[in-house]
Assembly symmetry: C2
Homo-oligomer: 406 residues x 2
């Protein structure tokens, strides 16, 4: 498997576009992805009881058909808490796209992100679709435009692409995602669109997607809020011509590994671009008895506002890490915990057997001043591990969120 | 029942002191409370798996004896994650106080708050005790000094006192508490000391305390972090001369109501003085089928960083409230939710049946610009309700926590 430059148009037969439709001032705010042929479809969505209308729409397609041919996305309006009018807006959006593309409305997926509670301006959606359809293209630039169209408070476009082989054929898997607030274990607003030319049954694509999301998007946290709109879709159109994957075979494992690689890369990029973030914080818990225990501890640390603010201050206030482990719900022996901080600037052992090493504060501050920091926690119980990704909590987070609608 | 001016020295036979012992520069950082006679003791503590040494010490006294006669407190050092040396520091502290006071070490309770992971300087504790014992007094000023000695990032001293009658005798219950970070449902660092001259068996005092804490301190949130040091003690020395409460009688109910009144007042004060807070946010969920459902919804809203930052920006971004309700784990019908914002500046209906009322944004902003704001949420299912208290999340929270140790 090899990383290549590319996004959602890298796999054969996928086209995309991204435009300024008018939901936001002077910024791209609408995107489309289409496939030349129908694709096998996998999807996973927010577990928030309050689900945006497009989430409800997509879920029916994923569960009822397992196949589709296009996605229409917008940013600026979440189309959540919009009642029956929100459902109606979905139907009209899908019908408009279907008509322009010559497909059926139930082959059109939808994804929205933005402010909750405002009615989606359906005329703007219709005009956006009419504008985009002639622009749909398989170029690298089209993929980037689509990735920009779904950005909200993201500061960088997030794309990733890998190439690998299945039954002697070259297969491509590309993806794009947007964060950056409401990022939380078990998904935050987050839209993620993955396209591949692999031939695979949608049930196996779903299996690979769920497994990858568990170890990638469900292991990141920016602010602890879980969105109403989270959507992660995997579209596989089969144009690579590999032997279709229909069981948990060696080919399946290669494919699943590719999905995990792309989602992990995108998840890490989302955490690093968390709202107001100046640094990526990676928390690796090792020496655990079980994967679940390691994951619970890593997530609890990454979610702690006090840990996040300490990182913002380059302050090796390690007690906050042990404290967050303590309320994680997972058990561990405090007197067996070892903790190190690492970055490009070096490694500093902070605690051994639960007490301070008497570390050099100057060195610790230097290490914590880099823009990618890892905390390695060993609980000395077993050989399982888990990694979670988050970011520091800064003044900029407050500035962004205190006035998001203004 | 009547509120009176007073703190931990208002009840008969209680004395207190608070001094600058030298843990922090130029600020009071050590306190004591003593009773002229042993008191019946109730206590509740952090549920964090990682417990500070003084929490472990106190718990043994609460569970093993149910009585004690003094409390020694310090701020600046949490004495958490300090290993065997931390336990030893507790023993030495209690022995020093016991010797000065002429009581036994197991009659001395301890409470610490501050930075985790640094060894408690035992000589400073010893000197502090020697300084304080001659200063112990039952004056109003002594109570305030003690309340100041436990402050960390608190900006105001938090005390409360009520008077009521039990079997024809005047009874006084006073208390003090400190916040202000790490405040979270199920307690944050938070020390709370309650003194009363009521005569009550420690088991019934414990019952009243647990019940009061559930509806007060467990319903507030500043930042979602649960401390290693949370301690809430209720000391009842019986000097009011009422008929000793030994069953769930009418007198018990009057007493329990007084404990709830004082803890609710202190909890609300803690939320309002949350780190960096500019406004108190009260979230009242009504029309619920059960108290548990109402509490889960209210807590989820109060804990949301996105709700907190919206309040900081005086922004009626109500979708974030519905969103936080949606991931609370409690069920409700989105299309039955009514939401109002209230403050001294008025009331604005924001949502009816889950969709916007098309409210006046200017009026909403005016209402959200006050320093005490209430969100009233009605889910129209039943007649149960719950209230939670929190605060906005501001730049000052970041400033305070990014460099707490510096």
């Amino acid at each position: 498997m090899e990383f290549i430059d590319g996004g959602v148009t890298a796999a054969k037969g996928f086209r995309a576009a991204g435009i300024c439709a008018g939901f936001k001032k002077g910024k791209k705010d609408m995107s489309m992805i289409t496939s030349d042929v129908p694709f096998q479809l996998a999807g996973t969505f927010t577990t928030n009881l309050v689900k945006a209308a497009p989430v409800v729409w997509d879920r029916k397609i994923v569960d009822g058909y397992g196949t589709a041919q296009a996605v229409v996305m917008n940013s600026g309006y979440a189309n959540a808490c919009t009642g029956k009018a929100g459902d109606e807006a979905c139907r009209l959006s899908a019908e408009a796209a279907a008509q322009e593309l010559g497909i059926r409305p139930e082959q059109v997926l939808l994804a929205s992100t933005g402010v909750i509670g405002m009615a989606l301006p359906i005329e703007t959606i219709r005009e956006g679709i009419e504008t985009m359809v002639p622009l749909l293209s398989d170029t690298r630039g089209a993929a980037s435009a689509a990735a920009e169209g779904i950005m909200t408070t993201d500061t960088v476009r997030k794309e990733c692409c890998v190439e690998f082989e299945l039954s002697g054929r070259k297969v491509t898997l590309g993806g794009m995602t947007k964060g950056a607030g409401m990022i939380h274990p078990n998904m935050g607003t987050m839209l993620c669109l993955l396209t591949t030319d692999a031939a695979i049954d949608h049930k196996l694509a779903q299996k690979a997607l769920l497994s990858a999301v568990r170890d990638s998007f469900n292991m990141i946290s920016v602010d602890g809020d879980m969105s109403t709109n989270d959507t992660c879709l995997l579209m596989a159109n089969g144009l690579a011509g590999n032997d279709r994957i229909e069981s948990v075979s060696e080919d399946y494992r290669i494919f699943a590994d590719a999905v995990l690689t792309v989602t992990k890369t995108l998840a890490r990029a989302m955490a690093k671009d968390g709202e107001g973030a100046h640094a990526l914080l990676e928390v690796k818990v090792q020496g655990a008895s079980s994967k679940e225990q390691a994951a619970a501890l890593a997530k609890s640390v990454i979610e702690s506002n006090l840990v996040k603010t300490a990182i913002a201050g380059h302050d090796a206030n390690w007690g906050r890490i042990i404290c967050a482990m303590g309320y994680s719900g997972a058990t561990f022996a405090e007197d067996k915990v070892d903790l190190d901080f690492m970055s490009k600037a070096g490694t500093v052992p902070i605690a051994r057997s639960g007490v301070t090493t008497g570390f050099d504060e100057g060195l610790a501050t230097k290490i914590l001043s880099e823009d990618e920091i890892t905390a390695v926690i060993d609980i000395h119980e077993g050989d399982q591990e888990a990694t979670a990704w988050g970011c520091d909590l800064t003044h900029d987070y407050i500035t962004i969120n205190a006035d998001y609608r203004s």
